[in-house]
């Protein structure tokens, strides 16, 4: 279920990149930022949030464990670390 929800979330965020509703909108936000520009600046923040969600809920812990074991194993073998 978690995998499904995260997949849908990522697909929705990817779809939100195509803001067709702003295509010809020339209005200004705060009097100096075109709305299409403001949207895509905001989109980058959404992308950052999405990655934070993936890091929190889809992080490959198995790889982390494997490589930590590997590092510990090497440290045991090599007294210099």
């Amino acid at each position: 279920m978690k995998t499904f929800l995260l997949t849908v979330f990522v697909l929705v965020v990817l779809a939100l990149h195509h803001d067709l509703w702003n295509w010809t909108n020339k209005s200004l936000v705060l009097g100096f930022i075109p709305v299409g520009l403001a949207y895509h600046i905001g989109y980058a923040f959404l992308a950052s949030f999405t990655m934070a969600v993936l890091v929190r809920y889809a992080w490959p812990h198995d790889l982390e464990r494997e490589t930590m074991d590997l590092t510990a194993h090497h440290t045991d073998e090599d007294p210099r670390g």
Partner: protein
């Protein structure tokens, strides 16, 4: 003061960083090519980001925004802000873990081992190396051009193209030669900080100098001929959609994937993928915005001229000190070719020299020296080509544009290798041959359609130099009309509309008997209006799947090595 002095100081600093890294290094292949897989989280983030930034991030993006408007940010930057971190998250972390576990130092080492594919690995290695070469040549050319432009004061040029190109080639060669990956990563970190500081500083000083941007934007919006710059009237929806596939190329670039192997811990990827989108937007948003501001202050720039719009804005509105810092910032972008030179050297040393027996015969230390000699060779050949083909840079720019599509279309190979047990080397070969064939076809179609390419109207007005007194030139200039440049020093530039038009230029059919299958716009060939990258990625993925299902998989031992049962049971990722 000649602004070139600041650039020389900058070059001296990066040279020192490379030599300092040399003193910290050891004479082993893993240390020279991968910094001993020991980069900390901040150096890893900044160097990975810096490696992926080119002159296009500042110069090309603003030049393109000058012609196409604010849509450039969504077209190229915000799509990258989402897709590149995703690929680093799903592919980069796994490449890192497998590299750590099995000792891989290149993509091809992994692919060879994963599919028991020696010769096919060599083919992919040579293909990716060939797609990387034009970047290095363009880097040397850009260095020469930038130093020549910056050092020209009152009509007198102090540093020639030839000397500037040689200087850039020698400096990059030296710190890569001595410092290897550690030196390159440190220099890239320094360059990224410089990008970010320069962008912020330039934006603030310009805003102060011209009295804020609000009035300029209002004037652009109120003029029907320039209002389209504030939206995406000049872009086609198909082109905008196609661009979402281009950032898939990032992780397939050898220098990016090799850089992914340098992190000390997998946890360093956490900060990287979260901060990466914000770093991209911090560089691109001011550049795109200033490109649009430039369209108001310097209307009517012709082909090629608009790529210098930020330089024009700064030199007209701020002093020589900042111009020098700007020059250093541009040099930092241009010199992003350092990691590409190192990647080529790593490919040569690991995929060819070591694989075909050099390591066994000559020792690890000799392998490092072979890699170093290769770095010198690449630098010398690049400089020679940059001199001989000085006036034919367009060929390399075109090659770079195709390479973006090519690397993006190779991404299904990597995804299959990492996530699909049943994938086979024959599927990978079919996909790689498809990519090679598509790039050849694209080149052919581009060449034969040049004579029929629709031309944008010539500029109606010449540049009007903005005043240092801060008076925006828009009020006293003609409306922006028609440059629609078709040239750009940048990679992947798409310019399908004239600056004065409110709609994209209608492309023409290359073969009328096939209808809209192959269309030619002012710059690109498209397939039913989509950029070639879209069908290339889809075709590559389909071939990877179909051919894999029709051919025998690798041996069970190899599959178990990369998909151990224990790991399968614990998999939690999406």
């Amino acid at each position: 003061m000649n602004p070139a002095i600041i650039v020389f100081i900058y070059l001296a600093i990066v040279l020192y960083i490379g030599i300092f890294a040399f003193r910290k290094g050891k004479e082993s292949g893993e240390d020279f090519f991968l910094a001993n897989r020991s980069l900390g989280p901040y150096v890893f983030l900044l160097s990975l980001f810096g490696t992926n930034m080119t002159a296009f991030a500042i110069l090309g993006s603003s030049g393109l925004a000058y012609r196409q408007g604010i849509g450039v940010l969504g077209l190229m930057a915000s799509s990258s802000a989402m897709v590149i971190p995703l690929t680093i998250f799903f592919i980069g972390t796994r490449l890192w873990a497998l590299g750590k576990k099995h000792g891989h130092m290149t993509q091809v080492q992994f692919l060879r081992d994963r599919w028991e594919a020696g010769g096919i690995g060599t083919f992919i290695s040579v293909l990716t190396a060939a797609m990387l070469v034009p970047y290095i040549i363009i880097g040397v050319m850009g260095g020469g051009q930038t130093l020549e432009a910056i050092s020209t004061v009152n009509g007198r040029t102090w540093v020639s193209y030839e000397f500037g190109g040689a200087l850039v080639a020698v400096v990059v060669m030296s710190y890569v030669f001595f410092g290897g990956m550690r030196g390159t990563a440190w220099v890239n970190t320094f360059q990224t900080v410089l990008f970010l500081c320069f962008g912020t500083l330039a934006f603030i000083l310009l805003a102060q100098s011209i009295g804020g941007f609000g009035s300029i934007m209002q004037q652009l919006a109120s003029n029907p001929r320039t209002a389209s710059l504030l939206a995406r009237d000049r872009m086609s929806a198909e082109e905008f959609f196609s661009y979402m596939f281009i950032p898939l190329s990032a992780i397939m670039f050898p220098h990016i994937s090799i850089m992914c192997l340098t992190a000390e811990r997998i946890s360093h990827f956490r900060k990287t993928v979260i901060w990466y989108p914000l770093c991209i937007i911090a560089i691109w948003a001011p550049s795109v915005y200033l490109g649009v501001v430039g369209a108001a202050l310097f209307p009517g720039l012709g082909p090629g001229e608009s790529d210098d719009i930020i330089i024009r804005l700064l030199t007209a509105n701020v002093g020589p000190l900042l111009s020098g810092i700007l020059g250093a910032g541009i040099m930092a972008c241009v010199m992003a070719s350092d990691s590409q030179i190192l990647a080529l050297s790593t490919i040569f040393s690991e995929d060819l020299f070591a694989y075909y027996g050099g390591k066994e015969r000559f020792s690890d230390r000799m392998q490092v020296w072979a890699g170093r000699l290769f770095i010198v060779l690449i630098a010398l050949v690049s400089y020679w080509v940059a001199l001989k083909l000085k006036d034919r840079a367009g060929i390399f720019e075109l090659a770079i544009r195709f390479a973006f599509s090519g690397f993006a279309a190779l991404s299904p190979i990597m995804l299959a290798a990492l996530f699909w047990k049943r994938s086979t080397k024959w599927g990978a070969l079919a996909a790689a041959l498809w990519v090679t064939g598509c790039m050849g076809l694209n080149w052919y179609l581009q060449t034969i359609s040049d004579p029929i390419a629709p031309r944008p109207p010539a500029p109606a007005v010449r540049p009007v130099v903005a005043q240092r007194d801060g008076t925006p030139a828009l009020a006293r200039s003609e409306p922006v009309n028609g440059p629609g440049a078709t040239s750009s020093r940048a990679t992947g530039a798409q310019q399908n509309a004239p600056a004065g038009g409110a709609r994209p230029i209608k492309p023409v059919q290359i073969f009328p008997q096939y209808g809209d299958l192959f269309l030619r716009g002012p710059v690109n060939v498209t397939v039913y209006g989509f950029l070639p990258v879209f069908p290339m990625v889809i075709g590559s993925a389909v071939l990877m799947i179909v051919v894999s299902l029709l051919t025998p998989p690798p041996g069970q031992a190899t599959i178990d090595k990369y998909f151990p049962p224990r790991r399968d049971a614990q998999q939690t990722g999406v």
